[in-house]
Symmetry: C6
Subunit: 76 residues, 6 copies
């Protein structure tokens, strides 16, 4: 993947950090399935399935751990 | 998502931290499935399924790790 | 949930910490399915299923990580 | 559970720590399914299933993280 | 596996770290299934399945935690 | 298990650490299913299944977190 999409883990606050965690979760998928057409086709499979949505939320939670630690938990 | 819903990870105690962990777990779902109508329709699929409930509890546990660390485990 | 059920992550020893981890795992379920009647009905679904029990044990393990860290691993 | 089964996370070395991690994984199951008769009956369900064994190994890995950290990774 | 494929966890930035996390996820598979022919044959099974892609993204997220910590979160 | 198979988490580099993580993942299975005959019989079940391989890679990733931390991420 040639283009630059991630230059820092630092964000202005926890919500922006959470949204970056979502981006990382999606990029983890994108590197494995680069075709936007296929990803779009698969979307209803998980967006309308309770367990799939929970699984997505789990990946977000794991990435949010990383980003929150990187930002010192925005304690400052 | 335009509105501000997360401005700090700091909470007054561990129970409030646990409840914030639940909120994060739900927001991880909401970002992927923004339709409240669809989420409500899916609710019985996981709220009345033992394994789905365990999976939700796992996401909460992961988010609680982050929040507990952010709060220095409310040791003070 | 109005009542106070978690005021500290500190416990007198690792076993009490492990038992608190179990409580957190259960509370993660309870917040999503508040009906004790439904939870009791679902009990055989996971208590008599090997994979479900492993999944429960995993949530306990994640919560125990948090509690053990909070307690400085009871090293003292 | 009345009896004392966990008084310390400290072990003499990493292998003993790994074996304690296995014990914690089993206790996570035991607290949810206290009947030894039921647990024995379920044993073939996971001991002869590849994915179930991987899931058990994952719970052990999570518990081993906790125990290894508690022991300062036995670096000394 | 005789050849050297991992000599450092340090990367020039977070994106390179994320890409290394993907490599680790793939190597975790490769050590278990060394046959490139078999892995290629299995590719459609996960690359066109939403839940499988989420699972891959989760492994990447876990490896990214490790690499991000190794790099001090590229804060410098 | 009588024999000594794990005396240290320290390795000469990250690749050796990753290979130790694989060993831990396998030992987590071996303690639960000690029969080499059964484990060999189950091998095709996961070695030729995409989701099973991802699950194995996840256990490796978790163990690698532990080993990498033990080794100070081989930064030196």
């Amino acid at each position: 993947m040639a283009d630059q999409w991630l230059t820092t883990l630092l964000t202005s606050g926890p919500q922006e950090g959470f949204e970056l965690a979502i981006k990382l979760a999606r990029m983890g998928v994108k590197y494995t399935q680069p075709s936007a057409e296929v990803r779009d086709r698969l979307r209803p499979d998980y967006a309308e399935n309770a367990d799939s949505l929970t699984a997505v939320s789990q990946v977000v939670a794991i990435n949010f751990q990383t980003i929150a630690a990187a930002n010192g938990y925005w304690r400052g």
